[in-house]
Amino acid sequence: MRPALAIGVVELRRFFRDRSNIFFVFIFPLLLVLVIGLQFGENSSQGRVAVAGDGSALRTAVVDELEADDVTVTFDDADDVREQLARGRSDVGLFVSDRAARAFDEGENVRIEIVTAAQSGSQATVQDVRAAVRAVGVEQSQVTALTTAGLDEEAAQDALARARETIQPPEVSVSNVDELAQEFSGVGQFDVGAAQQTLLFVFLISLAGSATLIQARREGVVARTLAAPVSAAQVIAGQVLGRFVIAMLQGGYIMAASSLLFGVAWGNIALALLILSMFCVVAAAAAMVIGSVMDNDSAASGVGVGTGLVLAGLGGSMLPLELFPDGMRTIADFTPHAWGYEAFAEIQRHGAGLVDILPSIGVLAAMAAVLLALGSWLLRRSLARAL
């Protein structure tokens, strides 16, 4: 297998000699992880509430409660709040009128208007807001009760604060009935994007690399390699090996860097590497298919990048699979990306073990086997054309 190794090493050397690869392999993917993470991150916080109304004791009390619950609160006038809701920038709008503020100060009945946005996830935020408002209401009624019983207001507040410290209030946990929100609850801001970009770039870099195989064939180096004591099988093994190592480096790099820079959790690292390497074999074999079928290297780069992006899109490496309508979800299963995505999701979000991801690994292995056989046959055929 020494010749195969020599061929693989040369492919690697050539890959890293191309300076433009450095940006695409090392910088670009992380930028995407960052951008996607930032968007995903805002969506997945405990909700965004836009508050309208002038500063008042009521507003301060409710906002304090909400922020204690990790809800993001913004202040605006009533019109802007409605606009934000319409655009989906906020989940819930809270309208604290002057009357309500006065009623609150005087310990009377308070009405606060809540408007929710249409998007999924806002129901959970509504729950948060209700809980917060209720908590404020309870506290205010307690203060009122104590002052009517003769305490001055300051003493009443004091007594309540002491009571809060000694008696643990019942924990109100807002449980989310939205499946989607459940799936992503507890998932780090960058976790999904990092898994998506790993799959996308591994495949993209492999397919785009199919051009180097065409160049080698056209330049006659492949023919010359075969004039040496090297069998066609060794040439094929060397080509796959080279592409595989490049793919592994790409994937491993994104995994390591995203974990270091963005704290992405990959779950069981051995299983993560198993998924990655199986996916890399599929990618390397796919590259060999393109590099053998096509004879024009710049066209192959284009086709490689195009195919890489389309498969990534179809396979959940752009929009998460969970957001796919049913029909698209079925189509996704024809891409290796979808199986890689599912497997990563299992170990990243649900602490899955080997048995849980075995089906995904199995499908990837089958895809790899088919593509390897096809690629070998096509490459063998193309070698006869190489002259």
């Binding site: 010749p3 000699r17 330049e219 180096v221 010359r224 390699t225 004039a227 040496a228 006869a384």
Partner: protein, 328 residues
């Protein structure tokens, strides 16, 4: 495990003799065209054999079969007495191929290219280091070994292309038009190194469509056209095929016809043609005959202004055999 552990002798074909290369009745078709049509020749140790022919004659196709890159439709190739073919990985070690089209990685340095192909030849670490340095020295690229080959001049790339074929010191070196597109100086250097190799005992198969190269380098030459070897032999043997005659042209003033008649009397002169001021003579052994011819012509009253001797070369042999010029 690897096929190159198979002992040489077991697969030796008995009637191969001592020839390094035996090519027997090779045929190869591409669709409707028969690119190589019943080609046979042999090359002994230390011998340089030339395939001389115009574009499309079938030189590269022949070489591709000899190097085991493509399969022959029929016929056989024996290298060192063992049959060659695309699957004969073990036999390939004995040949070094220098393809017509530069087969080097442009994005690797000269040294990296040599090391890569050296590894494919299974040279051990030490042998590889040593041979790469030796070959770099030989092809005069030691100073540029660390540069990417895409920055090399055409001649430097050609030299590297040859160097790769020499790395593992093969028994048979195959060079397919190695001097195409190089300047006269590089060309001279290439020819010199090929001469040196055959002195060392390497068998060389050399294709070209430059007759000067074939004349200078090759012990024997096969003239190939339209896939067939039209004639084969040493330069002198081939030249004799044209009838072994030389041409002498005489220019002068006087009675041309009288001079022509006088010259026809000479035994060395086979044929005389005349126009107004010029005589065209076909003679045997022009260098010896020319003195008597000049004397006779002068005696017949011709005052000569110009005498030119033309001896046949491979170009005229090719013309004689095929009725067309070697270069179109």
């Amino acid at each position: 495990m690897s096929a190159d552990t198979v002992p040489d002798e077991s697969t030796r074909v008995p009637d191969a003799g001592d020839d390094v290369l035996v090519v027997r009745s090779l045929v190869r078709r591409f669709g409707g065209i028969t690119a190589v049509d019943d080609v046979s020749f042999r090359i002994g140790q230390g011998e340089t054999y030339g395939l001389l022919g115009p574009n499309g004659a079938g030189k590269t196709t022949t070489i591709s079969m000899v190097a085991g890159l493509i399969r022959a439709d029929s016929g056989a190739t024996l290298v060192n007495g063992r049959e060659m073919g695309p699957d004969r990985v073990d036999v390939k070690h004995h040949i070094g191929l220098v393809p017509q089209n530069l087969a080097i990685y442009p994005d690797l340095t000269g040294r990296e290219n040599l090391r890569y192909f050296g590894r494919l030849q299974r040279l051990g670490r030490e042998a590889l280091d040593r041979r790469v340095d030796e070959v770099l020295e030989l092809i005069g690229l030691t100073d540029r070994a660390g540069d990417l080959t895409k920055e090399y001049s055409g001649g430097m790339k050609r030299r590297l292309n040859i160097g790769i074929g020499l790395l593992h010191q093969p028994r048979l070196l195959i060079l397919d038009e190695p001097t195409v597109g190089v300047d006269p100086q590089s060309r001279h250097a290439i020819l010199e190194s090929v001469e040196a190799l055959s002195v060392e005992g390497m068998a060389v198969l050399y294709t070209t469509h430059y007759m000067e190269e074939a004349e200078r380098l090759c012990d024997r030459i096969g003239i190939i056209d339209e896939g067939r070897i039209q004639a084969e032999g040493s330069r002198d043997e081939l030249v004799r095929l044209t009838g072994g005659v030389d041409h002498i042209r005489l220019n002068g003033s006087g009675d041309i016809d009288v001079a022509a008649d006088a010259l026809r009397e000479l035994p060395e002169v086979e044929q005389v043609d005349a126009d107004r001021r010029t005589l065209y003579l076909t003679v045997r052994d022009a260098p010896t005959a020319v003195a008597r011819i000049v004397t006779s012509a002068t005696r017949a009253g011709l005052s000569l202004t110009d005498v030119e001797i033309t001896r046949p070369d491979l170009e005229s042999v090719f013309l004689h055999l095929t009725g067309k010029a070697l270069r179109d």
